[in-house]
Symmetry: D2
Amino acid sequence: MTLSVAVAGASGYAGGELLRILADHPDFEIRTVTAHNNAGHPLAAHQPHLRSLAHLTLSESTPETLAGHDVVFLALPHGRSGEVAAQLAADTLVVDAGADHRLEDPADWAAFYGGEYYGSWAYGVPELIVGPDGAKQRANLAGAKRIAAPGCNASAVSLSLAPGIHAGVIEEEDIVSVLAVGPSGAGKSLKTMYLASEILGSANPYAVGGTHRHIPEIQQNLRKAGATEPTLSFTPVLVPMSRGILATSTARVKPGVTAAQVQEVWEAAYADEPFVHVLPAGSVPRTADVLGSNSVLVGVALDQAAGRVVTVLAIDNLYKGTAGAAIQSANLALGLAETAGLSVNGVAP
Amino acid sequence: MTLSVAVAGASGYAGGELLRILADHPDFEIRTVTAHNNAGHPLAAHQPHLRSLAHLTLSESTPETLAGHDVVFLALPHGRSGEVAAQLAADTLVVDAGADHRLEDPADWAAFYGGEYYGSWAYGVPELIVGPDGAKQRANLAGAKRIAAPGCNASAVSLSLAPGIHAGVIEEEDIVSVLAVGPSGAGKSLKTMYLASEILGSANPYAVGGTHRHIPEIQQNLRKAGATEPTLSFTPVLVPMSRGILATSTARVKPGVTAAQVQEVWEAAYADEPFVHVLPAGSVPRTADVLGSNSVLVGVALDQAAGRVVTVLAIDNLYKGTAGAAIQSANLALGLAETAGLSVNGVAP
Amino acid sequence: MTLSVAVAGASGYAGGELLRILADHPDFEIRTVTAHNNAGHPLAAHQPHLRSLAHLTLSESTPETLAGHDVVFLALPHGRSGEVAAQLAADTLVVDAGADHRLEDPADWAAFYGGEYYGSWAYGVPELIVGPDGAKQRANLAGAKRIAAPGCNASAVSLSLAPGIHAGVIEEEDIVSVLAVGPSGAGKSLKTMYLASEILGSANPYAVGGTHRHIPEIQQNLRKAGATEPTLSFTPVLVPMSRGILATSTARVKPGVTAAQVQEVWEAAYADEPFVHVLPAGSVPRTADVLGSNSVLVGVALDQAAGRVVTVLAIDNLYKGTAGAAIQSANLALGLAETAGLSVNGVAP
Amino acid sequence: MTLSVAVAGASGYAGGELLRILADHPDFEIRTVTAHNNAGHPLAAHQPHLRSLAHLTLSESTPETLAGHDVVFLALPHGRSGEVAAQLAADTLVVDAGADHRLEDPADWAAFYGGEYYGSWAYGVPELIVGPDGAKQRANLAGAKRIAAPGCNASAVSLSLAPGIHAGVIEEEDIVSVLAVGPSGAGKSLKTMYLASEILGSANPYAVGGTHRHIPEIQQNLRKAGATEPTLSFTPVLVPMSRGILATSTARVKPGVTAAQVQEVWEAAYADEPFVHVLPAGSVPRTADVLGSNSVLVGVALDQAAGRVVTVLAIDNLYKGTAGAAIQSANLALGLAETAGLSVNGVAP
């Protein structure tokens, strides 16, 4: 059975990546692509790399144009999805690649985003440990009609640490994460800081000191994995690569835990996962290894002298970090094969 | 007075940067450039950007060719400087840009480098706090005849944290540093991991889990700044920029310390420094801002929720991280103006 | 029916790209991967991005290990394929991604490569015009048992110009091509010029003045498209992108030819092609648009004042430039769908 | 004697480079920096790399703020300099880094720029051959009060070809130039095409087919070097490096000219130049070799088979291409040492 799909925000980077994956998905047919400022343009004017969709034209992002599809993917600026989604039929699967429905606590929303709060949806990271028995989030996605795809950075850090939190081998307090991130996560935002001349040849930190919007999302995830009141120092650094997140996260190891146990905890947590892979002890991933794929690679080490577990996780912010997570979650919601249409192999070099 | 200079290891990146700075230094005259494999070649074959030195030819790196100069800069692979330096006249100023004479504890040398230990020299980071009264390392460089230029990463992390350690506003235990670094720090080493195809478009961690050789050097520096037994989780990440280090370092804040106090501590520590600048609260540096200069820019923030001070420091690994530190230290040793021949302005964009 | 495949040279970039495409190809099963220096290693040590093939181990590249497969892809250094291929069964389809069997004239081989000449095979660019009637090369690939995949640069320039040569709207003399190329075309060759520090932030020309080995291959192709004695100034420039070729080629326009005619000639030549697309007048492609795909995008313009047609062509050197061409040609040789297993959409941004 | 200087447009890239060079110039004192939208801001907010100028504040770009200086440098969007300059005192040296006063023919201005034409000024490329006797443009700059700094691309191509035109060894018709250029030449223009995500990992051509505004400027220069009606196919390609131009230019060689003659012609033309260097036969430059310097490196080759001379020229678009040319010309106009304050050594790697 082929399901009809609409993608709103199709002229941006997240929208483009959704379309790129959907174009080769065996169960979906892209019927409608919409945009705001770019409505009326040929899709090819904004996504020249999507040759198989070069015949499509962008229509306006309205509830009317989005109505009548089996699945609607929203790739809109934050604060926009809530309003649009509220007008879509309840039995339509709506997957929001934006931030509007990720946070469960209105206070978090108010503190980090602001504006109207539209409530939270099923969170689109199937591999996340969410129960004391090690249950994964995928169980909550089966049959869902409203799904919030994760923040790419939040996804990276949460998947890095959830195994250790769940197994009780690391402390939940005093976690430190520093991320090297590509600028495509910011979309086509026309700000000086995203100009090529500003980013080429430079490493540029931002949102330093606890202000990044993905912090409450990570804390929410870690609480589901077993933490009570996790604290996190989080610093993203823009580096000159278009895609990718390399998240280096560290947490204090609990007394007596060995390096072998650490390796085993992470391996066990993701042993059966099709997309999350723990590398052999001593190995760490590069972002190039996952570029253009839904794969997540994690390396983990115990630094005895520092008393900390160090995880290094690589993820493609646009694929597994956004569009792939959305489609993987939609697969689960619709009862399709979870891996349908999703690539495990990266494009390297 | 013009002092005669020799640079050993002149065909590499550190050697090239030494020569680039020395070429415009008002007090030095480059008389000899030496190399090992490349001896006999014109310098221009290996340093085509050094137009003003295009007439020089590389001679062999031997005690004989290096003898008879007022100053000798060594930019040799680790393990080589000790032997060469031992054969140079005691009254010649020898500045080693390599690692051979940085570590004061033979056990550290044995654990992280190995091979013969040649003893430690005056450490070439003038701005480092090394006394309980806030005394700086520059006092130890005046008149010195043997100087060890610092490790670029060690310099970055030590300058980031020394003010907080000295002032007692951060804990010395459980420091975490993650660095985005350019590949030029590795020199012209012909390994697959340094090929452009491996590094372009990717973030590549290495030496994860407490194995990097700069860790004992940082600990040694922090002890001089006032720490007793500092512990440090240290992770470097290669990113696609030729030069630069962006060091994100965090440490637990001591109880009751405010953001204003934190800012004040760092500003006070570097208030009179010609090359180290603390940015206004709320600002963070980019590596592009210091590229091609001897400047170090530091931003500092207190993340109350995480209970951590976060410092972000930008430095050019080849300039202030290596060659500039060597020359600044030589200036001090020789009684020249500390800033002679050194640029404070970066090359951006 | 599933065909068994072996890939020789599987630890390199071209070998990796062959495997990446083959892994998702509906008709092939990768059975053997071989290497020379790296024999015995797990494939994952050299191709960590190929998660779906992480179970494979590299065996030695010998006629014995390669024997017994339906298809053998060779991704070996030039001068090596000829010898290996000579020992493979005549009814095995052998596709050489190297240079050994591209040139039809032994004098060209001697002048630009040297060493033993093993003869030419069917040339693996199906879209190339090779007959006065506009016949394409794909006809020569059906049923072939020995195929020479093209040089990536040669493919780019030949596809750029063949339509104009065939239609007689441009002169065959005095063609000029300048290419911006990524370093992955050089493989994992450990030379200083391919180090990241040499290539990041710089544009580096090489093989200037008519010495590049793809020149006779381009001339051979243009002769098949209708030229008699084509002359070509060809300059490649390494730029800091891991993949991609942006070929800017110009040729003198024949008298009286209009811009509309030029556009029409190129559009007509590739109207039915699944992988080669002529952009609308006024548009030009970027290499990002074809990265990770088998697509070729061409923009064409007539510069009346200069009296020249300008073509700008974007191609992924590892995909359509090498591995994709090999697999597309194999599809044709084996009677499979020409497009089987090949992506038309690029990975951008 | 110290001369007072104002820089208009000081918050942009060209303005920043002017300030960076002027800051270390022995004869100038930067007294005023102005901007349009950014007036009132600290300079450091827009030029954080200029530590030695961090005390300056941007004032409004008006004739009043610019009045009363010995030298005024204008780094304004095209179409703005003419109006401002008309209101500055006649005996003030005004150097325009913009395009407003480069073109001598109002028809060229109308065809490629449009809007009011303000007339041409002395052209700021001292090394350009402008007379049948080989006279250089520097003679026309001595004592000048109004100077037009060149277009960076125009400068690159003109310096590449003028020796061959002047010596009569190449044809003036049918020149082809293809340039790899960094995005900083576009300034801080907020357009999607200049976003880092669009440029990282990609080669992006623009202004294809004879529309680039530097074409008439190049033709004007080549006429001064001896051409009558030069024709030029000119294609710029944006590549992922912040700075630099690598210009590959080719022209048909005149009959009977040898490779040795070609090398000799170029060497003779620039033998005494402090900033333009012809590399030995067989060598070509990289943009990294001139980054951050006023140097121009040229390699030249004769491709006998193609019948073309190929020149490859590297220049830093912001330094020698813009700000360095402006200051070098100002030095000449004011009777200072031509090389005062200008670097010959590049920043590499």
